[in-house]
């Protein structure tokens, strides 16, 4: 287990998920933004514009590296090639934070480019903990693990997600990335309480909070089915859940994510301003 005493070097300000189309606007007024998050896998080429742009951005902003491809929840071994690429990126970039997901995406050497769910049992807990230890030892720093969006449950699960995450923190010293939109999506889909989830969440371990938008659908019984699309504005109940969380946790670095149907910069700037207000309420 890695000795990990603090969570990230991110400032207590809003950041944004970086999209190359916003490069010019971001660089025009860098003081309006606390930090940037990038998806690790997009910067694992050998060179060219993406790497050059990232080097430049890192001169102006603290960077959070957010991995989407490690498959920490997978039943198989971690992909050593991918782990080596991650280690390389983290070593040259020296980001303020590194995070990944409680999910799997690779099985039998096939990668599915989605965050797939796992049951919460002592067996999966042991495996995920071993993977987190391996990642933290390889990259030489603490990682944050993000709570997933759930669309369904597993008959096999014997632990709540919050208990599962708390155990992971205790076993590995990892921190957590709390996505309040994911909390809202999962609670709606699984008919549980988002506030009860936050009440039971190990908030002391949270190093970063994510905000994003979701789509609305219904399952075959007519029950609401929210899809974590990152393609819309954050909805009011999620902003309210953020306020509820921050009131308990104190200020945390906040991130606005918008990955599909990416809007003009001013739309994101409005979301960032709202996140700034939410943070200001608990900063005094």
């Amino acid at each position: 287990m890695l000795d990990t005493t603090h969570h990230t070097g991110l400032p207590l300000r809003p950041g944004v998920g970086y999209k190359a189309q916003h490069y010019t606007q971001i660089m025009q007024r860098p003081e309006h933004l606390g930090w940037l998050e990038i998806h690790a896998e997009n910067y694992m080429g050998e060179g060219g514009r993406p790497i050059a742009q990232l080097r430049h951005l890192a001169e102006h902003f603290p960077i959070s590296v957010h991995g989407v491809g490690l498959s920490i929840g997978g039943t198989g071994d971690l992909d050593n090639d991918h782990l080596a690429r991650l280690k390389h990126l983290i070593s040259w970039l020296n980001p303020a934070s590194f995070s990944e997901h409680l999910a799997w995406s690779t099985h039998d050497s096939h990668f599915y480019n989605d965050l797939l769910p796992l049951p919460y049992t002592p067996k999966t807990l042991a495996r995920v903990a071993a993977h987190i230890n391996q990642v933290q030892e390889t990259v030489g720093r603490q990682m944050l693990l993000e709570n997933p969006s759930s669309y369904l449950g597993f008959a096999e699960s014997t632990m709540s997600e919050t208990a599962f995450l708390r155990e992971l923190v205790a076993k590995t010293g990892c921190g957590l990335l709390l996505d309040v939109n994911n909390v809202f999506v999962s609670a709606t889909n699984l008919k549980t309480s988002p506030h009860a989830y936050i009440d039971d969440f190990p908030l002391h371990a949270v190093g970063e909070i994510h905000l994003g938008g979701h789509d609305e659908d219904a399952d075959e019984t007519g029950a609401p089915l929210l899809i974590d699309s990152h393609g819309k504005a954050v909805v009011d109940p999620v902003w309210a859940l953020l306020d509820y969380t921050l009131a308990k946790s104190g200020p945390k670095p906040l991130l606005v994510e918008w990955d599909t149907d990416v809007p003009e910069w001013h739309v994101l700037a409005d979301e960032i301003a709202r996140a700034d207000q939410a943070l200001a309420m608990v900063m005094s």
Partner: protein, 245 residues
């Protein structure tokens, strides 16, 4: 009921497969539509990655055809790595065997060109050699010299006018392609790969240099349609030679 990642995996790309055991709605019933969210996410994200990788192939076959073709491809060739920037590496071979695309004989070669452009875009940076450095060598020394070629430099040869077809589908006012064999050199002086039409002999020569052969050896691999001065001049002007060794 024990969850099996293997069962989840095999059902995720097979729309006909039953929902895996143990995957449930809040009420405990099998989670049909909820499982389909993952099916849809996976198929759409992989299809989107292929669209981003092969814009000209897509333009040539149309959106609807491309989506259907991508649906077959992603089930037959799911990614083997999380680097989605390189997803689609066997698209040329796939298209060569894909019956519905048979009528567009040049499609696999356009896919090869688009793959080469993508690999060039993400290739390692390399500082170019001063163009004067070669002129300082005696003719004998020049022929014995090996030239390190920048990693972003690629060649594609085809029986079809791939550069002309690519241009006609990416630039307005490009001339109509004339059916003829074409070879291209891709260079990346800065960040944007650029395509240059060369002849097949020049492509052979560049490939030999990339494999570490001397200029004299590389020249000997190509036939007498090679214009060595022209291809060397192009490589140097585009910053595609990084070292004499």
């Amino acid at each position: 009921m024990t969850f099996s990642q293997a069962a989840f995996q095999s059902a995720i790309l097979d729309p006909e497969a039953a929902v895996p055991d143990g995957v449930i709605n809040p009420g405990g019933a099998p989670a049909q539509k909820r499982f389909n969210v993952y099916r849809n996410n996976v198929a759409v994200s992989l299809s989107d990655a292929l669209e981003a990788a092969f814009p000209v192939v897509r333009k040539l076959v149309g959106d609807e055809f491309f989506r259907a073709m991508a649906g077959v491809y992603l089930r037959k060739h799911p990614p083997k790595s999380p680097l989605m920037m390189f997803y689609g590496d066997v698209m040329p071979q796939f298209l060569g065997r894909f019956g519905p695309a048979k009528s567009i004989a040049y499609l696999p070669d356009i896919a090869r060109l688009e793959l080469a452009l993508r690999h060039s875009y993400h290739a390692a940076d390399a500082a170019p050699l001063d163009a004067q450095a070669l002129s300082l060598l005696s003719p004998d020394a020049l022929m014995g010299a090996k030239l390190r070629i920048a990693p972003a430099t690629k060649t594609v040869t085809s029986d079809y006018p791939i550069h002309a077809i690519h241009r006609a589908n990416t630039c307005t006012d490009a001339p109509k392609p004339v059916m003829q064999a074409e070879a291209v050199l891709i260079t990346r002086a800065d960040f944007d790969p650029e395509i240059h039409t060369i002849n097949a002999a020049a492509a052979t020569c560049v490939n030999a240099l990339q494999k570490g052969q001397s200029l004299g050896q590389a020249m000997a691999t190509a036939d007498d349609t090679l214009d060595l001065g022209a291809i060397l001049g192009l490589l140097l002007a585009q910053g595609a030679v990084t070292e004499i060794y």
